[in-house]
């Protein structure tokens, strides 16, 4: 029995409302998207929703006490809380370069956690 799932594409700030016809985990058709990214998002959202993860890590002796970080690419939404706990354990040492890897393959997701700004020593 095909089923229609309705959700928002969050790939860009336009936020198109998607209507996705699925059979189990198989996508039959996607409507409501304005660009091809929406179609891609619909497939990924049905199979395994992923999001870009952002947070901060503690820094000892930096010009700020925390440094913002992100997942280099989106990671499974279902793992976000595991990743948060892992990131909370880390204390980074300055100087930190934007884009430098702070945690490799976080929680076995295959995705790295990288710094999203540069942070000099205090």
């Amino acid at each position: 029995m095909p089923d229609v799932k309705k959700f928002l594409c969050v790939s860009c700030p336009v936020g198109c409302s998607l209507s996705v016809t699925v059979e189990g985990t198989k996508v039959i058709s996607v409507e409501g998207n304005t660009c091809p990214l929406g179609e891609k998002y619909a497939h990924s959202e049905v199979a395994n929703p992923v999001r870009t993860f952002t947070s901060t890590v503690r820094v000892r002796g930096g010009s700020l006490p925390v440094c913002p970080v992100r997942s280099k690419t989106p990671l499974p939404l279902s793992r976000v809380f595991d990743v948060t706990r892992e990131v909370a354990k880390l204390t980074a040492e300055p100087p930190i370069e934007v884009g430098s890897t702070l945690i490799e393959n976080v929680c076995g997701t295959g995705v790295d956690i990288v710094a999203s700004r540069s942070l000099p020593k205090r």
Partner: protein
């Protein structure tokens, strides 16, 4: 106090608007371009916006706020823009006449150099906006600690590593509040609900999906916080339903236990300096009245970014910053050419804010606007007489719309036409 400092183009504020203005002013050929910033580093509000969602238009990928700023600041360094950090502009005088042109004068304060007076051939105002505070809302009850604007809480968590509280209620569905709801949950707090007084969400719908729905955070429309409880620290708030007449429904009050209340109830352009300098402020936007060159009512003063009108996409801020910076540079070099017409933009029904408000037909222009209440269905934006029109799938207060107008079409309008009407037609 030292003597008068002279610069060609002075920019006040090193957020995305000011930095883009600096880059464009240098590219246009201005010699000494200085950005004055009160903070210890450039970047403005984006340094605390660590979530993704920036730069899809400008860089073709989705960046976090600090990453977007990092890239833009590299452009500024390459272009030879100077930054004067830890420097607050605290007073702006009315522009003076000098060599047949106007020049701007203002006063700055810096911890090592003290107070200085600066004269600039032109100025770009890029001070951003501030959040509507608790005091502006008239909430009853006690005045405990634990009540913050969402942006202040964002700075505490993302830049100072401090947690404002553990059990959080959020008032208003502005984007900063939605972003902070998710952020507080990721930091281990419990977000009990988001309460919106209006029948619609004021932020981007994507933020409802990815900040609230992803984390099962409930939000309630037509509900408002009407009373604070607690001595010393906040212990809870009273929430009331708002009826169709927009008045509180008596008997609908309920107590919500929380130790923190975040306010995401609107942003106001920051224009104290503009007022001091006698610059005309547009009541609709709360920012300076500007033409398509981003020139204010004082010919040597330009403005861009959230100081003019509150934008939701930084890409637009950068674009308008560039426009203001290029115009300011041309003015400083004595070659800014205004168009030879002057039109006033007249917004139609349900158009709440619009920018720019004056057109001189010097160049093609993008007009930005926001609707007052949502139109959920096909509609058409039109600029008359017969300038352009554009179909929209919907129009919502949380999302800015734009309409492009061509200079040649404006120039071709009959000489007695002095108004351009921009309206929204529901189809």
């Amino acid at each position: 106090m030292s003597g008068l400092r002279r610069v060609d183009v002075a920019i006040i504020g090193a957020g995305p608007a000011g930095v883009a203005a600096g880059v464009a002013a240098r590219k246009e050929g201005a010699e000494k371009v200085v950005v004055f910033e009160r903070d210890w580093e450039p970047g403005g509000i984006l340094q605390q916006c660590i979530h993704p969602g920036f730069g899809l238009h400008t860089f073709g990928e989705e960046l976090t706020g600090p990453e977007y700023m990092h890239r833009y600041l590299e452009r500024a360094r390459e272009a030879g823009v100077e930054f004067d950090l830890n420097t607050m502009v605290f007073q702006m005088d009315k522009p003076v006449s000098s060599d047949g042109r106007k020049a701007a004068r203002f006063w700055v304060m810096n911890p090592s150099r003290g107070i200085e007076q600066v004269e600039a051939k032109s100025v770009v105002l890029a001070m951003g906006c501030r959040e509507r505070p608790a005091g502006a809302l008239g909430i009853a009850g006690s005045r405990p600690s634990g009540v913050y604007t969402a942006g202040a809480a964002q700075r505490f968590v993302n830049m100072e590593g401090l947690m404002p509280g553990r059990k959080v209620a959020i008032m208003g569905t502005g984007d900063i509040g939605l972003i902070m709801a998710r952020r507080m949950v990721l930091e281990g707090a419990d977000v009990v609900g988001v309460f919106e007084i209006m029948p619609w969400v004021s932020g981007l719908r994507r933020n409802i999906a990815q900040c609230l729905d992803d984390f099962h955070i409930p939000y309630y429309l037509n509900q408002s916080v009407c009373e604070l409880h607690g001595k010393g620290r906040l212990e809870g708030v009273t929430v009331v339903e708002i009826g169709a007449d927009r008045k509180p429904v008596s008997g609908s009050e309920k107590f919500v236990s929380c130790d923190t209340l975040l306010l995401a109830v609107g942003l106001i352009p920051e224009n104290e300096l503009s007022r001091m300098a006698g610059i005309e402020i547009e009541p609709g936007t709360g920012g300076p009245l500007v033409n398509e060159l981003m020139q204010t009512s004082e010919e040597c003063v330009f403005a861009a970014g959230n100081v003019v009108v509150v934008y939701d996409l930084v890409d637009f801020v950068s674009r308008e910053g560039e426009r203001a910076g290029a115009s300011a540079a041309r003015y400083a070099m004595g070659r800014l050419v205004k168009g030879d017409r002057e039109f006033k933009i007249v917004p139609g029904d349900n158009i709440r804010i619009i920018s720019p408000q004056i057109l001189t037909a010097s160049e093609d222009v993008t007009v930005y606007l926001r609707v007052g209440s949502p139109v959920e269905g096909k509609c058409r934006l039109r600029a008359d007489p017969g300038l352009s029109s554009q179909n929209l799938r919907y129009a919502r207060p949380g999302e800015m719309n734009e309409i492009k107008l061509r200079a040649d079409k404006l120039k071709a309008l009959a000489p007695d036409v002095t108004n351009v009407a921009i309206g929204l037609e529901v189809l």
